[in-house]
């Protein structure tokens, strides 16, 4: 029975197919919202699915002078990391499929795999746009990773556990956005940085470096990276919602809260101008990290007193 349950959790629900389709649905909502904010019509509901199918069916061109194995394997690892992280978060408000002490750290690591793989994929090819994109992607990762970690550790400290299920259980009765507003902001903006959404899309700024690190990718590899990003959008929204927005007790609350958060994220994306990479780094280390740290210290002091 246990094996069957594991297979279902991995391949169908909540990991695997479900999260893939849900991720694509959320990606569509994101694209549609931005389009409407920008006075465009936007894609039809099946567009992300159609894009993925088309890309998956296309021939993958492997450029010369790259490590072919890495070139093929990196997108797989990226998607696998994103999919695996879905097993540890309370998707649609259910208990996480797997849970152990410290799974928060593992999940954050799994979520970073995508960026790491993107950076490596860019560095693997000789294309100049890819190299610049890879440098920017990794630079950006090093700037937001620490503040985001601090932001997500805030709830962990007040819940006195590093287990996502315990934290989300605690958050159901505490709206942490009110007690830790800075953490919430840093987490949401960090999520946008992770997903390379505007204004943090310098690593894939099309007017400068074409498609950044993924310039050489076509066909299957590109599809897998895109799917990984969609899954990560879903997982990231789930994490932030579960931690900061009063938890996700049931599917209805889950969808209402994550979609509301997505509206905010889409609004920010359409309002802001792209930051240069050095501005992104400056923003994170000068404000993001310091603010998160300040809140962290306040919390520790408060906990210590109480």
């Amino acid at each position: 029975m246990n094996t069957l349950r594991a297979v279902i959790a991995l391949l169908f629900f909540p990991g695997g197919l479900f999260i893939l389709f849900a991720g694509m649905a959320y990606e569509w909502v994101d694209r549609k919202l931005i389009a409407r904010f920008q006075n465009r019509i936007g894609p039809r509901w099946f567009q992300p699915l159609a894009d993925s199918i088309k890309l998956l069916a296309k021939e993958e061109v492997i450029p010369t002078d790259v490590n072919a194995i890495l070139f093929v394997v990196l997108p797989v690892i990226a998607l696998a990391g994103a999919l695996a992280s879905a097993l540890y978060v309370p998707i649609i408000g259910l208990e996480p499929s797997y849970s152990f002490s410290g799974d928060l750290i593992v999940t954050l690591y799994l979520l970073s795999l995508l960026t790491l793989c993107t950076g490596l994929a860019g560095a693997n090819t000789l294309d100049r746009f890819s190299l610049v994109g890879a440098t920017r992607a990794l630079t950006q990762m090093f700037s937001y990773e620490a503040p985001v970690l601090l932001a997500l550790l805030g709830p962990a400290i007040v819940a006195e556990s590093w287990k996502i299920s315990v934290i989300s259980e605690y958050a159901k009765s505490h709206w942490l956005i009110i007690t830790q507003p800075i953490g919430f902001l840093v987490a949401v903006i960090g999520l946008m940085g992770k997903l390379e959404m505007p204004p943090f899309d310098a690593p894939e700024a099309e007017t400068e470096i074409v498609a950044g690190a993924l310039t050489e990718y076509s066909g299957r590899g590109l599809a897998l990276f895109h799917l990984g990003k969609s899954v990560e959008l879903m997982v990231g929204l789930t994490l932030v919602t579960a931690f900061y927005l009063g938890g996700v007790a049931n599917p209805l609350l889950f969808f209402a809260k994550t979609l509301m958060l997505l509206v905010v994220v889409a609004g920010v994306q359409s309002l802001l101008t792209r930051l240069r990479i050095e501005q992104t780094v400056g923003l994170w280390w000068r404000y993001g990290a310091l603010l998160a740290l300040a809140q962290f210290l306040v919390m520790i002091a408060y906990e210590g007193v109480a």
Binding site: P199, E206, L272
Partner: protein, 392 residues
């Protein structure tokens, strides 16, 4: 990786690149994200238009020259008409001259709105891009209403204009301008107060007054550096002496100033168009134009939305021009891109490039020819052969 000379890391932009809407090749040497050198190779869209005018009559050349630029087609036709009319010693009637000014200013609105969108897009501010292009539809519709075309209006004919403005059209224009004025006020507010956008424009690509003089910048690019030069004021042509334009200059010389100058010019255009509509002279639209144009040569200069547009026209007494030379404003402004690029971030390159409002295919002329022929004058057959050899 051929163009990676020595240990320089070169980022190519173009001839095919998402930042460029037309093919032109730029190479930026970078050290990390910092640009240390820039070079350009022009000429990917050379179309032989100047040569083409040499075996077309003046009337047929009008059609060709309107297509030098897709965005500022009217000023090209105006420059050519004014030059040929001067050679033929006729003058278009006042009403025609006023309509030329009216269409030219509508075209300037269309061009500047388009540029505003492109500039915002290069900065990654796609919302402003979408909004300004949506509002630009208003002026395109007005132009379609007047001339029948959204671009390439072919308003001009030698000796006058083709289309008249009636009462209803005038009312529609006024209404459209009211809407645009409201939107433009908003955009001026956005580009001068949006903190995130200012981070990408304020203090970026600063060109001082001296530098702009040395590099020979023209048009709004120069006016953003405090150069008070505008042919509509300095050498008023068509009906600009009757409907004077106020110069718009800024002194900062950075990208923000270029945004501000162009947006403020929109307000000037609104004002001038209203003045033309208020005081449109009655009378004919055309005068009789002789088929053969007297021998002689002339220089015709007009202010295109991008700056000074220069035409040299030489007639040999037949119905065909012997030589037509076109210099579009992108060429003198190009030097400023290469100079300003050095020392900036790679991320600023698209914005600095677009800051001059480049129009590459208008700009491409054959300047020097390496080859076996010594003669300055080539026949069609020789040109054709050269083209075949070049691309072989």
């Amino acid at each position: 990786m051929q163009s990676q000379q020595g240990n320089k890391f070169t980022i190519p932009i173009g001839p095919q690149h998402p930042a460029l809407k037309e093919p032109e090749h730029f190479e930026f040497n970078v050290d990390g994200e910092l640009v240390t050198g820039a070079s350009v190779r022009l000429g990917y869209v050379h179309r032989g238009i100047e040569k083409g005018t040499e075996n077309r009559s003046f009337v047929q050349s009008m059609y060709l020259l309107e297509r030098v630029c897709g965005i500022c087609s009217h000023v090209h036709a105006t420059a050519f008409c004014l030059g040929v009319e001067r050679l033929a010693e006729i003058e278009a009637p006042p009403r025609a001259q006023a309509i030329r000014v009216l269409v030219a200013e509508l075209e300037r609105i269309h061009s500047h709105m388009l540029w505003l969108g492109v500039g915002a897009h290069e900065a990654g501010f796609d919302t402003l891009f979408m909004y300004s292009w949506r509002d630009r539809e208003t002026v395109l519709n007005l132009l379609e209403d007047i001339t029948g075309n959204r671009i390439n209006y072919s308003t001009n004919v030698l000796g006058g204009v083709k289309c008249d403005i009636d009462r209803e059209q005038a009312a529609a224009i006024r209404q459209g301008l009211d809407f645009l004025e409201e939107r433009t006020t908003h955009y001026l507010d956005v580009v001068t107060s949006d903190m995130m956008f200012l981070r990408r424009t304020r203090g970026v690509g600063v060109m001082t007054y001296d530098e702009s003089q040395r590099l020979g910048a023209v048009g709004p690019t120069a006016r953003a550096s405090g150069v008070a030069r505008d042919l509509r004021v300095d050498a008023a042509y068509a009906a600009y002496d009757k409907y004077p334009v106020n110069l718009v200059t800024e002194t900062a010389g950075d990208l923000e100033a270029r945004f501000v100058v162009r947006i403020k010019e929109l307000f000037e255009s609104f004002r001038v168009i209203r003045a033309v509509l208020d005081d449109l002279p009655e009378g004919d639209l055309t005068t009789r134009m002789p088929r053969r144009v007297k021998e002689g040569d002339t220089i015709s200069r007009v202010e295109a939305p991008r700056g000074e547009l220069f035409y040299y026209i030489k007639s040999n007494g037949t119905d065909t021009a012997e030589r037509v030379k076109v210099r579009t404003p992108t060429l003198p402004n190009m030097a400023s891109v290469l100079t300003l690029a050095v020392g900036h971030q790679l991320a600023d390159m698209p914005m600095i490039l677009v800051g001059i409002d480049p129009c590459f295919s208008c700009n491409d002329r054959m300047v020097s020819v390496k080859g076996t022929l010594d003669s300055q004058c080539w026949t069609w057959e020789q040109l054709r052969q050269y083209g075949i050899e070049y691309y072989r």
